[in-house]
Symmetry: C2
Subunit: 217 residues, 2 copies
DNA sequence: GTCTATAGATCGATAGAC
DNA sequence: GTCTATCGATCTATAGAC
């Protein structure tokens, strides 16, 4: 029994307490929002004292902002498929549609969206982190992809950026609003599939260059 | 000088104080949200004492719920044009698109959306009031309108409800997200017009029965 | 670093005078 | 009906012991 081993509270291996605090805070903030979560509740959930939190984070706002900005970067799907040269347009749009709609419908993504929307006026950097890691980034990549398809003569699109926004809007439709407002049961896989298929079908119906006419061009 | 006229605080003509309270509470709740507004702040803004508020409303949650449900019914455009028989599809969709996008972009509608999203878990009736007075109602009417146009052979749509959701989704697109997250300057009329025109054009491009093929049907 | 204990402010709601 | 004054709870943040 070494003399230095008489601590009754484990300082843990590495920086254990800060990690407990982060996990507890993220869970509570996402579940209940900024205003409804007290530092006492975070301390209780993390199994530490309130003073320990203030030893690692300057104040509640900084803790919230730092953790939620990280969260805003975690909830989006991989979109590497948009970096390839356009080949099978329908397959690519369907894959993107399924991935994006699935990501948007995750309970954690819904909770993050709700929290970001609620706190955007008081935490502007949060809204920016959400937008630029997700909708903005994906829209930019899709815009480039569509522009390359247009250059190949496979799509008839005058404004690729508007078209990209339209396709993504078709994927963030009523199921998303219902989920955000907590109306009815959670969205099921069948509806998500119908949304993705419907979006790809409508988009190609509007913009595909089939050799025939290009409606509305 | 009548004897009964020695009140130094005006009870006002009719029920004046309750109306002052309502207006002050709505303004503050919409600007700052439920949690950030105190009953003291409402009393100060309304020019009454806090006890007067409690003489007219049972508690803060009831005050908030009642006022915000009313607000959720006020922010939507008139959609009587969807009750007529379908004639000029493009003109009708354009008019609906302009009206819906304009309504969605109003600062008050944005603030109400932000507040409803934030408080939906704690005030379920608020989310329901928002959804059913706006998106649900408009979607139902548009679904009927589209179904009649299909019956007339002017549209090729297998699922009118999905198509209606798609058209409305095209109108609640990136400008709405940017506004809700308070990114950049407020949306301008030119962008709203481009959104409405783009939505009508894409929708008819995907679903118009031109006598030629009906893509994706 | 981590704890207990508490300061200092603010909150929702109410009692009691008029 | 409306006010002033206040209660009791809760919140953020910190002081001081170990």
């Amino acid at each position: 029994m070494e003399a230095a081993r008489k601590l009754d509270r484990e300082p843990g291996p590495r920086a254990l307490k800060p990690q407990q605090i982060r996990q507890a805070a993220v869970r509570l903030f996402i579940e209940q929002g900024y205003g409804a979560v007290s530092m006492d509740a975070i301390a209780r959930e993390a199994g530490v004292s309130k003073a320990t939190i203030y030893a690692h984070f300057p104040d509640k706002a900084e803790l919230f902002g730092a953790l939620m900005q990280e969260e805003c970067a975690r909830i989006w799907p991989d979109i590497a498929l948009l970096d390839a040269e356009p080949r099978d347009l329908r397959a690519t749009l369907l894959a993107l549609g399924r991935a994006y709609a699935t990501a948007l419908s995750q309970p954690r993504a819904i909770a993050v969206y709700r929290m970001v929307v609620a706190e955007a006026p008081r935490f502007p950097e949060l809204g920016r982190a959400f937008f630029e890691n997700g909708p903005k980034l994906i829209c930019d990549r899709l815009t480039g992809y569509l522009a390359r398809a247009v250059a190949q003569g496979r799509l008839g699109i005058a404004d690729p950026r508007l078209a990209a926004q339209q396709f993504l809007s078709l994927l963030r439709c009523e199921y998303h609003l219902r989920s955000v407002l907590q109306l009815g049961p959670a969205v099921d896989a069948a509806e998500l599939e119908a949304v993705a298929v419907g979006a790809a079908t409508a988009f190609l119906g509007a913009y595909a260059a089939t050799g025939a006419e290009r409606p509305g061009a």
